[in-house]
């Protein structure tokens, strides 16, 4: 098994403008997702939702600035760390990850244990 990060990129306005119902539905969808990962033979090792980019602080060298690293329409809003057999398996799992206002990116986690 190998580790992959599922990075969730979405338009923040989707949640900001949607009120509590939208948030509750999202939480329920992520709850279902956790169950589906197990059914698919994968494993969630960790993950969380992030506060919106309006709360982000970027640090580059000595410079500390307000805001995210890059202003984009779809921002990183949450992530999972999962275990999967191979990329196809990771994609199969990531397809199920809720991201109604954007999409997800799958990235293999680098194995630095041996070096």
């Amino acid at each position: 098994m190998a580790q992959y990060a599922i990075l969730i990129y979405e338009a923040e306005s989707g949640y900001a403008g949607g009120g509590e119902d939208v948030w509750r539905q999202a939480m329920e969808a992520h709850g279902r997702f956790a169950g589906q990962v197990v059914e698919k033979g994968g494993k969630i090792l960790g993950g969380d939702a992030l506060e919106p980019t309006s709360t982000a602080t970027s640090i580059r060298g000595d410079l500390v600035t307000d805001g995210p690293f890059a202003e984009t329409k779809e921002a990183l809003g949450g992530f999972y760390l999962i275990e999967a057999r191979d990329l196809d398996h990771a994609i199969e799992i990531a397809r199920l990850c809720p991201a109604p206002y954007g999409g997800v990116e799958v990235r293999p986690v680098m194995d630095t244990s041996g070096s």
Partner: protein, 434 residues
């Protein structure tokens, strides 16, 4: 006596012509088989390529000395795998740190070849093809990787084929190989549930290779025969490996029927000839017959997009002339194709059939919708099709402007010359635009 593969260096004595021919032939026929079987051992595509390359060099000498073996592919594979195992023993400590190709052990492969030393060599060509054409790789990288690993072309040859600098192509191939290892793209044939999607990706890559060769996007001649031949060889290989997949038959049929017109697509001076101008008596009838048989096989089940495109090509190929083509049938086929593949390019081709069935004005109305759609803004065949419809309606000034728009987008020399001729024809007197 059969030559035994080993680790001999390149031949010290003069290499026989027969051996040289046999090695060249084996390069063309067996590269994919040998590399695919070796990659399973090395679990590293670069190392596999090196071992296979070495095996071909060794074959030059060994076959000249001992004669060409009964099964050159098996000989080469055994030689390449010996090298791979030696390499693995030598580099064990080094290799464990690098990401390896993931080779899941599925059910024993149905097809296997007996090697000269009695072992069985699995036919891993499908694994290799599906790995090269994995959807997580960019389409252009899929095509480059397929040419490199399945066809055995050098990076320089691939770069030349796609008219990009060799360094660019080398970077593209290296990046794709790195991703296969680091992201763990498995070396396997997709399972039944994912097969239709994944197979479509493979067929699309081969089709892209063919169309690049069929009308060289930037070249001076119209056709790049080497690319067309490679694409057809790949489609043949796939058909041999997956004889029961209708879409594979559809693709091979489409390529054979389309390429059967190769000799008639330009005149002696290299000028482009349209379908309606081509000398149908010079179409390759044997290729068309083979293609039509494949189409029949492909249409047995609800047809996919390649089967339908092949069926359309077959209707054209069997028509005695352009006017007496079964255009209503072609229109029906385009409608079915659009239902499963709503692509603006398909819709544009349908416009041509509409013109033949319902007249150019109706076709022009359909085309207006495609112009508004915007997705074909850079596609030279949109203004070219529009120009032809306007020409047939006698609206010469508008036709001229549309031909000019097509010329501005066209880069192939033969196409440009054709469009320039049409502009001249439309520039004479007799403008009867409404």
């Amino acid at each position: 006596m059969v030559a035994r593969p080993g680790n001999e260096a390149a031949a010290p004595e003069p290499v026989g012509d027969e051996a040289r021919r046999a090695v060249a032939e084996a390069h063309r026929r067996e590269w994919a088989f040998v590399l695919a079987a070796t990659a399973r051992v090395t679990r590293d595509l670069d190392a596999a390529e090196e071992c296979v390359q070495d095996a071909y060099v060794a074959a030059l000498g060994a076959w000249a000395r001992q004669g060409v073996p009964r099964n050159p592919g098996a000989w080469l594979t055994t030689a390449a795998r010996h090298r791979a195992l030696d390499g693995l023993r030598r580099d064990r400590t080094l290799r464990t740190k690098l990401p390896m190709l993931v080779v899941p052990e599925a059910a024993p492969d149905a097809a296997a070849t007996m090697s000269d030393d009695g072992g069985l060599i699995p036919d891993d060509r499908l694994r290799l093809i599906f790995t090269c054409c994995h959807p997580a790789l960019a389409l252009e990288a899929q095509v480059a990787l397929t040419l490199r690993l399945v066809c055995g072309l050098t990076t320089a040859e691939i770069a030349q084929a796609f008219v990009v600098p060799e360094a660019t192509m080398a970077a593209r191939v290296t990046r794709a190989k790195k991703k296969i290892a680091a992201a763990r793209i498995s070396y396997r044939v997709p399972e039944a549930a994912e097969l239709p999607d994944r197979l479509d990706g493979v067929l699309t890559a081969i089709h892209l290779l063919f169309t690049t060769g069929h009308t060289d996007p930037r070249g001076s001649g119209l056709v790049r025969a080497d690319l067309v031949d490679r694409a057809i060889a790949l489609a043949r290989m796939l058909r041999e490996l997956m004889p029961d997949e209708p879409e594979v038959s559809g693709l091979l049929g489409l390529l054979l029927i389309t390429d059967a017109r190769r000799a008639t697509r330009t005149d002696d001076e290299g000028n482009l000839l349209l379908l309606e101008q081509q000398d149908r008596s010079r179409w390759d009838r044997a290729a068309i017959a083979a293609g039509c048989d494949l189409v029949t096989a492909a249409l047995r089940r609800p047809p996919g997009k390649f089967a339908l495109q092949a069926a359309i090509a077959a209707v054209h190929a069997e028509a005695p002339c352009y006017e007496r083509t079964d255009w209503p049938q072609i229109l029906v086929l385009y409608d079915r194709l659009l239902r499963i593949w709503p692509s603006p390019v398909v819709a544009l081709n349908r416009v041509v059939a509409t013109a033949m069935v319902c007249g150019p004005q109706r076709a022009l109305d359909d085309l207006a919708g495609l112009e508004q759609d915007g997705r074909l803004d850079e596609y030279r065949y949109l203004p070219a099709t529009k120009a032809d419809l306007l020409r047939r309606l006698g609206r010469r000034a508008q036709a001229r402007a549309a031909y000019q728009a097509a010329l501005d987008l066209a880069e192939n020399a033969a196409e440009r010359a054709f469009l320039a001729r049409r502009i001249t024809e439309m520039s004479g007197t007799g403008n009867d635009d409404a």
